[in-house]
Amino acid sequence: MSGRRPTQSVIWIAALLAAMSMPWLFYNYHTGRHSGFVLSMLSQMGMMSILALSYNMLLGQAGLFSFCHATFFGIGGYATIHFLNMAGSGGLPAPMELIPVLSGFSGLGLAVVFGYMATKQRATAFAMITLGIGELMTTAALSFHHFFGGEGGVNANRMIGHSLFGLKYASAIQVYYLILAWVVLATAAMFFLTQTPLGRMANATRDNFERAQFMGYDPRMVRFLQFALSGFFAGIGGGLYAITYEIVTFDALAAPLSANALLMAYIGGSAVFGGPLLGAVLITLLQSGVSLLSNSWLVYVGVLFITMVMFAPNGIMGLVQAHRPVARAGLLGQLALPYLRVMLPGLLMVLGFVGLVELTSFLTIGAAQGKTLVLFGNSIDVHALSPWIISMVLLLGGGSWFRVEARAFHLVWERLMGEVAPARALA
């Protein structure tokens, strides 16, 4: 255990340094400008990290399935727009840096109300109540104009002239560092919460509801507190969203965002604290990167998600953790060759699949948009037979080869696990 802690802190510090230096890697020294695309993507990653981490307070730590997490994110955003407007007109003497606290409290307030209702029930009933709450709030946001602004949403100007450090937040880079600071604060706070008795009891009610009850705790109270606190952090995320975009519409609290929170937490790995953060970064990268290249990125996300559910239910971090005993025994090198052998057919299979998806997509959506499929500088005729056959052969051939290699890999893995297992038992 003692050997683990320092490496983990090193990873966290490296991640922080990377996040801090990332905008400067894409700095254009000729024009003296930051890349707007990179900055907005990084900012988005920051907000989504908070959303995913706060969602994992429910999914991973308390074993609760919520389908309304974006509600608290959104309400934080809407409230922040109103706070910014109040602060801009001099009605609210709050500096910009502390406005996300107010957004957090807006999220907390709503989460207390809805959490009281939802945590009365367990399991599927809980999930269904949250689903109802999410739909309810989306419909409400579309129909009420005073607070939510209807379909057009509400907007504000973030240059309110109050700042602890005399900053104006006119440029995106200042906003990015504000977001980063809040991500660090919120992540630290959420990590601290996992170490408190509340965090531990949340784990206990997840693992065995009745037993936690037997020990004299009120599991519903534990879940309620956990729900309310996760609403607080989601509200902070929403506040940062409002500050970045200066407009909040019903998208910020609608079901797709709640679904995104679930995807990010699950794909990253909900059993490990840092997993959702990794998931948020990856999914945002996919969202902004792949959606530029392809119309059908949702298919890829869906397939990735289903693959994870079927073969790696503990997410990416779970996969990494599975290698820990092997690494500790110093046998990681033995896995390199089997991995390479699996990777090659896997790559072919993925290529074939992507080819088929893109061909289909360009046949309909692309044609409607007047685009043509271009690969390595050559435009490809999607009506010709050969690209379809090539993709199909790649998919099927790669797939069957992959099955053979995967079986071989499985054997190596089992053997390694067998060698490592006694060492684990001794330790």
Binding site: A125, G132, L298, P313, V357
Partner: protein
Amino acid sequence: MEIVLVSLLNGLVYGMLLFMLASGLTLIFSMMGVLNFAHASIYMIGAYLAFTVSRLIGFFPALIVAPILCGLLGAAIEVWGLRRVHSNGHVAELLFTFGLVFIIQRSVQMIWGMLPMAYRVPPSLDFSLFTFYGEHFPAYRGFMLLVSAGMLLALWLLLKKTRVGMVIRAALTHPQMASALGHNVPVVFTIVFAGGCMLAGLAGVIGGNYQTTEPGMADAMGPIVFVVVVFGGLGSLLGCFIASILMGMIETFAVVINTSMLDLLKPLGITLADSNLFTEIMAMPVARIGALLPFVMMIVILLFRPRGLLGTRDT
């Protein structure tokens, strides 16, 4: 008065459509404990398939072919997908269907495009059945009622009079006991899942031209079907039926009622002068918040009666 009768009839049509979707979902949910998120997506596929098939060989063959294709798709999903994740627990199963929603949604857009399809009522059914207080009642709605009533009868006969139905009913209420008695519960699962998808496909065929066949139709229908299933209760088809008709009525009646809470207070001499969020809520006509009502009802019933209207077990 006439508006009540017309809405009653329309509500019945919509309620029966909902039941066709929800009955399959109730069976799946009660037996396997899986809330199938992709159920409304199958409904959408049914509508799109019906559009394509009806252009090739006509509407009435499509009425049979499209649901069968949906049933086969459902069986494939169950055998190759759900059964594999079954060992990872209910959470994994739920997430699996959740991922399917994304894939189906986007695949439909990729295959058929983003625009609504020109899936129309067949000409042989495109006439007015009777005139009703000056309003025409389309023959197609009568046909929808006929199909859904026939489906209801067939489902009832299947469940009550056949051996498979008996096993399904047993597995519905006592899944462990049924498997302990030596019935092949996995095969029953596949049958029920495929059957549920078939019903969803049928609902898609007759609902696709009643509403619009477009990529958003699954998202529009999905939450309502969930509400119906949860409201009606786990393991109870009768509860599901009552809930479907109720929701159908609520949805159709809400859009014609134009009073608000403020209108009810007017006789008491209460009026509100300023304009803020509270007065906006009070002055909102029922027609505009009709979409909220099913969700409010679902939350309320889950809070006070988590097993639903006629459910046999807690959800």
